[in-house]
């Protein structure tokens, strides 16, 4: 029944695009600099709420990697982050007070903006607490990667989410504006990940890491998904379905090899576990705007109160991408 499932997928993709259009009415332009976007520019699409403290480093990190323009959606921040971003020369900013959950956790808003501004560009969809690491990222800009992907006729690039955490209580160290969060959250779980294949959408379903270990020991299947496909040569017909975990058309989810080889892949260093988390967890819990009834934040709020230390004797300290490659968390594939 291949055609039937293809047809169903097509309808879902259409639905996503219509949804994006509907939800686009919730967006108000704060600063539109999209006129600056040139052909072949590499773009970032991101949505955030009260992340002012992280934004300077976020911009710095990705500017250094060669990102040309940032397309951002502010979801009702009240910490000055919106004003800060609006003043940046390479940022286009929209704002909304609408429900995060209602837009499927920001997917609808970003799908709309990507449809409008991302067509035929390499688009990176990341949150402000995610740092994109790819093979040779210490010596080659993202453009080297995207040029290589273009030459290899590859349209999407996978980068799994890797939760970083400090050694000690999460609220023990204070993160300062502009600081590299990896100075604090520099540890990670190197080899406790579980993978299943989603036969409907073809994406892999990766779970594990400290969040599963600490917050979901009794219901490991509820642990958050870590598979992501954040870098895509966008086409206006594409649509993300569930965060950047799944994308349609389904072929874009095939960022892995099934005959024994390794495709090139990267990692998103997830620096969520800073002292900013406990405040956020409480607030998000009240709003109830997160995935699966904010189960994750409920777990954090209780987990952080009871056993706040994610570090264990077997945690690995982050050095560089080569280390992640050797550990088998990412791969160079045939890029050399």
């Amino acid at each position: 029944m291949g055609w039937l499932s293809s047809y169903r997928m097509r309808r879902r993709r259409r639905y996503s695009r219509v949804r994006a259009w509907v939800k686009s009415r919730e967006l108000t332009t704060v600063q539109d600099r999209t006129g600056q976007i040139r052909k072949n520019d590499i773009l970032i699409f991101s949505t955030f709420r009260n992340e002012d403290v992280r934004l300077p480093f976020f911009l710095k990190y990705y500017r250094e990697k060669g990102v040309n323009h940032f397309v951002m959606v502010d979801n009702d921040s009240d910490d000055g982050g919106r004003e800060y971003l609006a003043s940046q020369p390479d940022v286009s900013l929209w704002t909304t007070t609408a429900s995060y959950k209602g837009s499927r956790f920001g997917v609808d808003w970003l799908n709309w903006l990507q449809q409008r501004y991302g067509h035929d560009h390499w688009c990176l969809v990341v949150d402000p607490d995610e740092l994109f690491v790819y093979p040779f990222c210490d010596t080659r800009p993202i453009r080297a990667l995207t040029d290589w992907l273009d030459a290899s006729a590859i349209r999407s690039f996978g980068a799994m989410l890797l939760d970083m955490y400090p050694k000690g209580r999460v609220d023990e160290f204070v993160y300062n504006r502009g600081q590299d969060p990896l100075e604090i959250a520099s540890w990670f779980d190197s080899g406790n990940y579980s993978i299943y294949k989603n036969s409907e959408y073809y994406n892999l379903w990766i779970q594990g890491g400290p969040r599963q270990r600490m917050f979901f020991p009794d219901e490991p299947w509820r642990a958050p998904a870590l598979n992501k496909t954040p870098l895509v040569r966008w086409d206006k017909r594409y649509a993300y379905v569930s965060s950047t975990h799944m994308i349609l058309p389904r072929g874009l989810n095939l960022v892995y090899d099934e005959t024994g080889g390794e495709k090139a892949s990267g990692v998103l260093l997830h620096t969520k576990f800073l002292n900013t988390l406990s405040v956020k967890a409480r607030e998000e819990l009240e709003r109830g705007q997160h995935y699966a009834d904010s189960a994750e934040y409920k777990a954090y709020a209780s987990g952080l109160a009871q056993s706040p230390d994610l570090w264990c004797k077997w945690s690995e300290k982050y050095i560089n991408w080569r280390q992640l490659e050797i550990l088998g968390l990412m791969s160079k594939g045939n890029w050399a």
Binding site: T139, N192, Q212, R213
Partner: protein, 565 residues
């Protein structure tokens, strides 16, 4: 005498210009072919930017699509122009816009002057070299390829299939032996003009027009006809990946290229500023002071291809998730599974650790918790001892454990009480060494202080589970190194069995085991089994245990541990 550069250009014209100026400064005339798909405005600007150089000419433009005749046509036109306009050119070097000269132009000229009659062109017969990707090697020359591979893949494939099925073959022109090789060559005026001015060129061109990827075979085959002295290698360093697409060089390859000892490298990423600055700036200095080590590049790129096609065995990750039986190794390294040993010996784990030097875990798949070595709450890779997390994906629990501890032999206990998800996976895994004492699960029951009815139920259950597991181990799919003893067999000569296992783990040591693990006192076990039988539950997996202790030789004292000298 000098060398003329024929350069095929389609993108990154600014870089091409930089390289052209470098060639010209070194005294080489350059003829440029710009792909017809480049826009007129861009082309004109490019021509204008080079108008100050009298020894740079532009040839007739063709459309160059990969795998088609256009590239050959472009090389032909440009070469003709070169031979006509620059009579002092003795060698013609075919290069692309993304080629970068690594050694000074002077050195290349000196090198070619010393070999005035040599043609440098990689050219091998298809029968001898399995270079090609996609299965089209000799068929490139015997089938027709009117459809574009890039744009009309389906038509391309269908037409190939059709020709195969109908056994349609093209005739290869008489006297021509198909050869293939790198498209980047350096030919002498004599050979090149012989090819271009041959009386039957028309015939050859017509033939090659429908050959697949003629730029890798046209000059390569025809030079075999006309050349006096072929050196079958390319002066251009060019590496290809598993899809036949060239590897690209970046700034971080600088040291590698310095030591490559090649004249020209391809292909260079247009934004590799450091490479361009270094090699076009002061090329003599760039190469100096480093030992040539051209093999290193080969190794790096060969490794990349291997990683892409075969991957790291036993690794499951976001970009390597093989189908079942395509893993090229279920696990990454050998490990040992012991079934029934901890039940039979009191101190088996520490004993085994001492005897083998490996990492010895308890029952990793125990229902209560993961019994890591030392009963730690977490283990290598931050694996949790939580049984629910383990059972959520037991296969990957096992492969993760083996992957995380590469370099250290893992041994663990297994038995019918444990969760059985990985039973078949272990049986099918050649890396697994599985040693089973069947029926030993009855010993803890025998020692337990439980109601007999419960024991009977439990025993029946365990026997059924172990029997299923043994079925997997004995199936034709089993690839592990498997040893199965019944309990009775094992007890007869335990040291010999243990010695075999330990030898296999440590790799045939001549050392004899001097210390034996302490066996549990089995007095009364026979009667225990008989009781089970009397209750209608026949325990058969342990073999024929002496039923009645009084019928055998009565042992008044408890058994002493085995000691082998």
């Amino acid at each position: 005498m000098t060398v003329g550069i024929v350069m095929l250009v389609h993108t990154a014209l600014d870089r091409a210009e930089q390289v052209i100026r470098h060639w010209v400064a070194g005294g080489c005339p350059v003829v440029i072919h710009v792909d017809k798909s480049v826009k007129a405005a861009t082309y004109n600007a490019f021509v204008a930017s080079l108008s100050d150089l009298p020894t740079v000419l532009f040839s007739k433009r063709h459309r160059c699509e990969w795998g088609t005749w256009g590239i050959v046509a472009a090389s032909q036109s440009a070469s003709e122009l070169m031979l006509e306009k620059f009579p002092d050119v003795r060698h013609v070097y075919l290069a692309s816009g993304s080629c970068l000269p690594l050694r000074p132009v002077k050195e290349l000229r000196r090198y070619l002057d010393a070999r005035p009659r040599t043609d440098f062109i990689e050219s091998a017969t298809t029968a001898d070299v399995p270079w090609t990707v996609g299965g089209l090697d000799f068929e490139r020359f015997t089938l027709r390829f009117p459809f574009s591979w890039r744009k009309h893949r389906l038509l391309f494939d269908k037409y190939v299939e059709f020709q195969r099925k109908m056994k349609i073959r093209r005739r290869i022109p008489a006297g021509l032996v198909p050869h293939m090789g790198s498209q980047w060559w350096c030919l002498t005026r004599q050979t090149l003009s012989a090819i271009l001015q041959a009386p039957d060129r028309e015939m050859y061109d017509r033939y090659f027009r429908r050959v697949w990827i003629p730029d890798e075979s046209y000059f390569q085959s025809l030079s075999r006809v006309y050349s006096q002295n072929i050196e079958s290698r390319s002066l251009t360093l060019s590496k290809f990946d598993f899809q036949g697409k060239p590897h690209i060089f970046y700034d971080d390859h600088l040291q590698l290229l310095r030591r490559s000892d090649c004249f020209v490298a391809r292909k260079i990423w247009p934004h590799a500023d450091r490479l361009y600055d270094t090699f076009l700036g002061d090329a003599a200095g760039a190469m100096k002071g480093s030992e040539p080590n051209p093999g290193k590049i080969d190794r790096i790129f060969a490794k990349a291809v291997e990683r892409r096609t075969r991957g790291r065995p036993g690794l499951y990750m976001q970009s390597r998730y093989p189908h079942m039986n395509w893993e090229n190794g279920f696990s990454s390294s050998p490990y040992s599974v012991f079934e029934g040993f901890t039940e039979l010996f009191e101190d088996f784990e520490p004993w085994l650790a001492k005897a083998t030097g490996g990492r010895v875990h308890g029952h990793l798949f125990a229902p209560e918790r993961v019994e890591f070595d030392g009963r730690q709450a977490a283990f290598s890779g931050a694996m949790s001892d939580n049984p629910k997390i383990r059972d959520y994906n037991a296969r990957m629990f096992l492969t993760n454990l083996i992957w995380n501890t590469r370099g250290e032999r893992q041994c663990f206990q297994f038995g019918p009480r444990d969760s059985q998800y990985v039973s078949w996976d272990m049986a099918k895994d050649p890396n697994a060494q599985i040693s089973v004492i069947s029926g030993a699960w009855a010993v803890p029951l025998f020692q337990s202080n439980r109601n007999f009815a419960d024991i009977r139920t439990e025993a029946a259950h365990l026997q059924r589970v172990e029997s299923d597991h043994l079925h997997a181990l004995r199936s034709t799919y089993a690839k592990a190194r498997i040893r199965i003893w019944t309990m009775v067999e094992f007890i007869e000569s335990p040291m010999e069995a243990l010695q075999n296992i330990v030898d296999e783990i440590t790799g045939k040591s001549v050392r004899r085991l001097t210390e034996a693990p302490r066996m549990i006192d089995l007095t009364g076990f026979g009667q225990f089994l008989q009781n089970l039988k009397n209750q209608g539950m026949h325990p058969y997996l342990m073999g024929d245990f002496p039923v009645d202790p009084t019928s055998g030789t009565a042992q008044p004292k408890p058994r002493k541990p085995y000691l082998v000298r």
